[in-house]
């Protein structure tokens, strides 16, 4: 009974973590950018969906779409206003661009967070779920919303896999992650590929944010923890490895759920952090990472 509950709850939270981390790892894999405004973009999507549905009253479906749209626009703004200017800057030495992208996106994330707090207060917001009610699976009463979350996450990740491996655009993205210079020699514009990647990223982060808003609720305080958890999942899995971060998301998700149920919700995040340190000790490049 309890084992099934852990199995089901753990699956939903892990799938959500996986979706949240996938976009983050995709951008790193293709362009080497660690986007520290990630949590802010997810929260922006959730808050936009909440505001559209609860204040404007456009309904849950339109609200969710608006949330994803806002995440897409924010992702583009992040790329064009922060990341691209730093990458193109001639005043920043190449070997320091990484730290500047980190600092820049961090500040950008704080700006988004503060704007959300200013306009929508710091209170937690729960997005109205698309499906409501409870069903009984294997003797465990499970909210339909939780099942919906898990299914959407798996579907989106599956679609992403198809997009990257089966379409022309996806193959260009994959090629750019392996050899950016080679791609430009083939006559493809690298900037265009990056724009595609940021678009995919925005949609992924938007869906993850809206689902999170429906499942657990968010507030402007969630920004930092969300970025930190995506960062640790991605590093645990191996930077730039999408399959690695999927595995890591499930490891972290289940570890947290197990701790919350069997020990105490107060200790929830500690075992996952300890595991992370342990993996860093013995395998610094992460589970499936390349050195």
């Amino acid at each position: 009974m309890r084992a099934f509950q852990i199995l089901i709850d753990g699956f939903a939270i892990s799938a959500l973590y996986a979706l949240g981390a996938t976009g983050f790892t995709l951008i790193f894999g293709v362009s080497g950018v660690l986007n520290l405004s990630h949590g802010a973009i997810m929260v922006a999507a959730a808050v936009a969906a909440w505001a559209a549905a609860s204040i404007l009253g456009v309904g849950t479906y339109a609200g969710a779409l608006i949330g994803v749209g806002v995440a897409l626009l924010t992702a583009f703004a992040t790329y064009f206003a922060v990341v691209k200017p730093i990458q193109d800057s001639r005043r920043i030495p190449n070997e320091e661009k990484e730290i500047f992208v980190l600092t820049g996106t961090l500040l950008w994330g704080i700006m988004i967070q503060e704007l959300i707090a200013y306009f929508f207060t710091n209170n937690a917001k729960t997005v109205l779920p698309i499906v409501e009610g409870v069903v009984e699976i294997l003797g465990v009463r499970t909210p339909r919303n939780e099942i919906f979350t898990a299914i959407v996450c798996c579907l989106v990740i599956g679609l992403l896999w198809l997009l990257v491996n089966r379409t022309r655009t996806g193959k260009a993205v994959l090629a750019a992650s392996m050899n950016p210079r080679g791609v430009t020699l083939l006559g493809l514009e690298l900037t265009n590929i990056y724009i595609v990647v940021w678009a995919i990223y925005g949609i992924l982060a938007g869906i993850a944010g809206v689902l999170l808003g429906m499942f657990l609720g968010v507030s402007s305080y969630s920004v930092g923890p969300l970025t930190a958890s995506a960062f640790s999942i991605v590093v645990l899995g191996g930077l730039g490895s999408v399959s690695g971060s999927l595995i890591a998301a499930f490891v972290v998700g289940y570890l947290e759920t197990l701790t919350a149920y069997l020990v105490s919700p107060a200790y929830r995040t500690i075992p996952a952090l300890l595991l992370l340190v342990f993996v860093m000790y013995i395998r610094p490049q992460g589970l499936l990472g390349r050195r």
Binding site: L107, M111, S232
Partner: protein
Amino acid sequence: MASFFTSRLFFVSLALVVIAATLPLYVSGYVLGLLTVAFYFGVFAMAWDLLFGFAGEVNFGPTFLIGVGAYTAGILNAQFGWSVYLCIVLGALASVVAGLVLALPALRVRGPYFGLTTLVAVLMLQNFVVVFADLTGGEIGLTIPDVITINAGANYWIALGFMTISAAILYGLSQSPVGLVLQASGQDPVQAGALGFNIVKHKLAAFIVSAFFSGLSGALLVFYFGTASVGTVVDVAVGVNVIVSAVLGGRRTVLGAALGAIFLIVAGEFLRPTGELATFIVSAVALLVVLFFPGGFLGAALSREARS
């Protein structure tokens, strides 16, 4: 190094310190209190810059070192009643030990991996403070019975003196042969290693020095505030302020980091009337500096001097 004592930077710094030292004679206790905190933050930022600016290691966990120093000192005083000065010294030492424990594994990895390891250290410390609430005061914070002094002027002078001495040592170190090796290993570790320098040993030394000053400053800050809390010495947001200070003031300048910290704290206070938008405005200004003046305040000023 010797040329520093004849440089314009030295005279400007000296003048600033002398002017700053006279402030308690004519400004309010409120301004002094603000600057006292800013000076301790200045040391946090300079210690961070020694590690990042020179060794090229992005330490996302400055507040791990600060927090260990602050909480060790605070707990020893609050729970065991040891004297303030002993607690401060032990706080700084605890921070050095914590720095060693963190640095040994962390220095094996580079770039984002190093950053994450240090970030995780902060998150763990934060969790432990909350879990061991009996000892640490948990989320409410730890009330500390003793303070160094309650005189605003004396506190201000202590902070100013401490920052000046720290700045002299950290800046001197950054310009010394050790600093040059660090800088070389930050820019091209392979080549620096090929020249026969033990990079890991140098970075470890930088980490320990950084930890010592962070912990010492954290412990002093705790005895100034009279409390230790996650929100003031451990939280990731505090670490972000330290990093932003250093980048804003000019990385690799050490002294610029202190300027950045003072600017950040004073600007935040000036913008307080704007309410919740204060942090937004400070972050926006910092982002503009990062985008358009990547050298930071001092970097921009020095390059202009070099050009003329």
